[in-house]
């Protein structure tokens, strides 16, 4: 089920109505049933995968808590890792590796005689696999105790607001919240409503408004001007941010009105001036997951410079591959790893970069320059991410460095709602940046606050006619 659908409206009305009248035990049961309905709406067959993953990790974690023998514990956690990564490998990466292996052998003149299977990618598989893995890994590391309540754990794996596109939760946050009575207070409710409204605004007005422009360029077969590529990539940077953070906002808002506090996933990422800062602000739940369960276990930055760079590259390439089984994602991961290494090399180990709004005129000018420069660096990364093939990456890059006419041949103008929406979004992002608080608007006087809400509502009405597009991150 998609958040942007009439079905979800009815679904949530029923779920929330029941939620308000039930006690915690029954709330959890109802949420679990609701979550399975929510997921099964796409393809009920893949519910078995979630259920299997839940059962395996539940038993592994419980066995882990029963033993102190290091060897046995390692074997148990390996069972969980192999199972989860195995499912992911089969459904997400099998065809990719098989195709590439066949291509390598074919180029050497050897026909393996294989045929690849037509495997359907289950929605959100990367998200819930990482979430269940974080549970067994945390129990293994004794960061959290294993839960004895199977129902609570099943809900932790399948909690519908964040099941298909995150934020990737940790047991210390979501599982603990599931096990406690939730407090639905007015502040939660008001903030939740704002997040839902803001999320819909970002998705329906901006992301869906810009999507046809981006698609027209990245789906074109020639005759593009460099202006097409530059503007489409710039729009894609905005589109993917609004699409993904819009989903997160709706997920967090829906959870908040039920008394759950999901993790923050985005913190005005385009206000970053270097890659390190960017990854502290963009898809935070994934970047911290990769940091905690991959980068640090690999050695992190504790060893030599070359080992740190190796760890960074490995983490980012695997992070790229997490997004999808395609070479552009691998290249994107490689690019992110490379800029992180370069930045580390330039900066060394000094920690003199101050985050937050600059305090003087000179600092503001310098900050603006850095911001614009790093935004362009980020946008090139998005070109790698959005490209349909490695050939397209080469073509687009060549076009940008060789064609100075900046002609826009293919792309049409964005809709009025998206243009005004981007302006309003910029205002809210600047507000967030200056006050260092996502709740900056709460300090505004009521007339200003209601003017902002009204702007969202009017723009939502205007953007309602945009061609509806699926959330980009559903495919991951």
């Amino acid at each position: 089920m998609n958040f942007i659908s009439i079905e979800f409206l009815f679904f949530f009305a029923i779920v929330y109505g029941l939620y308000l009248i039930l006690n915690r035990r029954w709330q959890n049961l109802m949420l679990l049933v609701g979550s399975y309905v929510f997921y099964g709406w796409w393809d009920w067959r893949f519910l078995s995968l979630i259920a299997l993953s839940t059962v395996v990790d539940y038993f592994v974690a419980n066995k882990l808590s029963e033993t102190e023998a290091a060897g046995k514990r390692k074997k148990l956690v390996l069972v969980s890792i192999v199972f989860n990564l195995g499912v992911l490998a089969l459904f997400k990466y099998f065809n990719f590796f098989a195709d590439n292996l066949m291509a390598v052998f074919e180029s050497a003149g050897i026909d393996l005689g294989w045929t690849t299977w037509n495997i359907i990618l289950p929605v959100g598989i990367s998200f819930y696999t990482f979430q269940t893995m974080s549970y067994t890994l945390d129990v293994f590391a004794k960061r959290v105790p294993a839960t004895r309540n199977f129902l609570d754990f099943a809900l932790y794996v399948a909690f519908f607001p964040q099941l298909v596109a995150g934020p990737i939760e940790r047991p210390a946050n979501l599982l603990v919240a599931i096990g406690k009575d939730r407090d639905i207070n007015f502040d939660h409710f008001a903030r939740g409503c704002y997040l839902i409204l803001f999320g819909f605004f970002k998705k329906l007005v901006i992301a869906d408004g810009l999507s046809p422009m981006v698609d027209s360029v990245y789906g074109a077969q020639g005759h593009l001007g460099s202006g097409d590529v530059i503007v489409a990539t710039f729009f894609f940077a905005i589109q993917i941010y609004c699409d993904f953070s819009g989903y997160t906002d709706i997920a967090r808002g829906v959870s908040k009105v039920m008394g759950f506090d999901l993790r923050t996933n985005f913190m005005i990422p385009y206000f970053s001036v270097n890659p390190q800062e960017f990854w502290r602000r963009w898809h935070i739940s994934l970047s911290t997951w990769l940091r905690d369960y991959l980068y640090i276990p690999l050695g992190g930055n504790a060893a030599t410079v070359s080992k740190t760079n190796r760890n960074l590259m490995l983490t980012m390439v695997l992070g790229g591959l997490w997004h999808g089984a395609a070479w552009p994602f691998v290249l994107w991961g490689f690019y992110q790893g490379a800029i992180l290494c370069i930045h580390r090399g330039v900066l060394g180990r000094k920690k003199g970069v101050q985050e937050g709004p600059p305090q003087s005129v000179g600092a503001t000018v310098s900050f603006t320059f850095k911001l614009a420069f790093f935004f362009m660096v980020t946008c090139y990364g998005w070109l790698l991410f959005r490209a349909q093939s490695a050939q397209q990456i080469l073509d687009f890059t060549w076009l940008m460095v060789s064609d100075y006419s900046f002609d826009v041949n293919v792309m049409k103008k964005p809709p009025l709602a998206a243009v005004v929406g981007m302006f309003i979004l910029a205002v809210t992002e600047v507000g967030h940046f200056i006050t260092s608080s996502p709740k900056f608007y709460q300090r505004w006087p009521l007339p200003m606050k209601t003017a902002l809400y009204t702007a969202f509502i009017v723009l939502l009405l205007m953007g309602f006619g945009n061609v509806p597009a699926s959330f980009i991150y559903f495919q991951f």
Binding site: S216, H223, V410, L446, T450, T454, L461, G465, N466, P468
Partner: protein, 424 residues
């Protein structure tokens, strides 16, 4: 004593004093009620009032802004300036029915009136050539077909051309025109022109549903494939006169709107019929959203980034229409030719969707995608005019003449051979 004194004082009070007292007690009641509310409820109430207030401010300022513009002029004439563009944006939020009325009434006496174009009324074709000394070629389609046939007439003036088109007409319009025109001429060759961007009209009965922003009233049948047979639902309004009468008589308009509601997939429950929403600017924005969303949700069912979806209803209907067109033309002893036009940036999806049907049924065709790439902006007249340039049409005509020269054996064939020889 005291009570008596009080009541006598009340009696002596002036009416305005009494009124003020009543008012103050009402205010007091309101204030009391308000004070009973908790801070949370007060916040919710004030937020709600604030949003209503700002929506009111938006509506009032937009109404004031629009008072400087006339909807009829906005919709019927070219708009200049950014203010005009915003006004046009809001004017396009009017319901489809309202825009059709404005379009019809505003241009009623004008010579070039697109609202008079495209009607499937054989009386309007009476002055078109019925025979040709050196060959008559009949063509059905839209402006792309019109321009290609114009180029044919330029290059082979000896031919007579009988061209029946509608503005951005879909294949169901062209096929219906072909059928209605079948016995009214003696053409040797019949051309069916298909344009990638108007294929969507197969699921409608009038372009007003999918071109909701600039609707035109002409109608066409809605075809369906039932048990492998092509069946049609004919529109209740088929002529300019009946449209004119329907606009004046709700009793005649209502059955037609009901038919559209039932058979036109693009009919939007909010935004097609004229309602009170037309008088509000916010209402127009709502209608614009609903019409746009309806059109795109219908289109998403048959087309995606990879092209047309093979098992969609639209594809099945188009394949059936093309086969039936060829069968009927051949039955009448005519050579059928299908022209496939690809609009700017629309890839070769139309060709990919239909070429197998054409080849399996040995239907001769010419596709523009191999002649002038839909991705190349230089093959289209301008950014505002997306028609193909004359050199593209010339090549389309040349390939058409080759088909006529080789697959027809009448007067037209001889002429085609002669002209092709001259060009060589």
């Amino acid at each position: 004593m005291s009570e008596h004194h009080q009541s006598s004082t009340s009696v002596l009070e002036k009416p305005e004093q009494v009124e003020r007292k009543v008012q103050s007690s009402t205010t007091l009641f309101g204030a009391k009620l308000f004070s009973c509310l908790s801070v949370k409820w007060k916040t919710i109430l004030w937020t709600f009032i604030g949003i209503i207030f700002w929506l009111g401010v938006f509506e009032a300022s937009a109404q004031w802004f629009m008072s400087g513009y006339d909807d009829q002029k906005l919709l019927n004439e070219k708009v200049k300036g950014s203010g005009g563009k915003v006004a046009l944006y809001l004017a396009r939020g009017l319901s489809v029915e309202k825009k059709l009325r404005i379009g019809w009434e505003g241009r009623f006496n004008k010579k070039r009136n697109p609202h008079r174009a495209g009607w499937l009324d054989p009386r309007l074709w009476a002055d078109k050539p019925q025979d040709g000394e050196k060959g008559l070629i009949a063509a059905y389609g839209q402006s792309f077909t019109f321009y290609a046939m114009g180029r044919l007439k330029e290059l082979v003036p000896e031919y007579e051309t009988r061209v029946i088109t509608g503005p951005s007409a879909p294949p169901n319009h062209s096929f219906a025109a072909f059928n209605l025109d079948r016995n009214l001429h003696s053409a040797e060759v019949c051309v069916l022109g298909l344009l990638s961007g108007t294929i969507k009209g197969l699921l409608g009965m009038s372009s007003a549903g999918y071109y909701w922003h600039t609707p035109l009233p002409f109608t066409f049948p809605r075809y369906r494939v039932v048990n492998g047979e092509l069946v049609s639902e004919m529109p209740l309004i088929r002529t300019q006169e009946s449209w004119d009468q329907a606009l004046k008589d709700p009793l005649k308009l209502e059955p037609f709107l009901k038919q559209i509601e039932t058979h036109d997939n693009y009919f939007s429950s909010v935004g097609y019929r004229s309602t009170w929403l037309d008088s509000l600017i916010l209402g127009r924005i709502v209608q614009k959203g609903f019409n746009g969303r309806k059109a795109s949700s219908v289109q998403n069912k048959f087309i995606g980034p990879q092209g047309f979806k093979e098992d969609s209803e639209l594809v099945v209907i188009l394949q059936a229409i093309v086969k039936e067109f060829a069968r009927v033309a051949r039955e009448d002893g005519r050579l059928p030719i299908v022209l496939l036009f690809h609009g700017r940036g629309e890839a070769d999806h139309l060709y990919q969707m239909i070429y197998k049907t054409l080849e399996e049924n040995q239907i001769p065709y010419v596709s523009s995608h191999g002649i002038c790439s839909p991705w190349n902006p230089d093959v289209f007249i301008s950014k505002d005019d997306g028609h193909l340039k004359p050199h593209c049409n010339k090549e389309i005509v040349r390939q058409m003449l080759e088909i006529i020269a080789t697959q027809s054996d009448g007067k037209a064939s001889q002429m085609a051979k002669k002209r092709l020889n001259e060009w060589e």
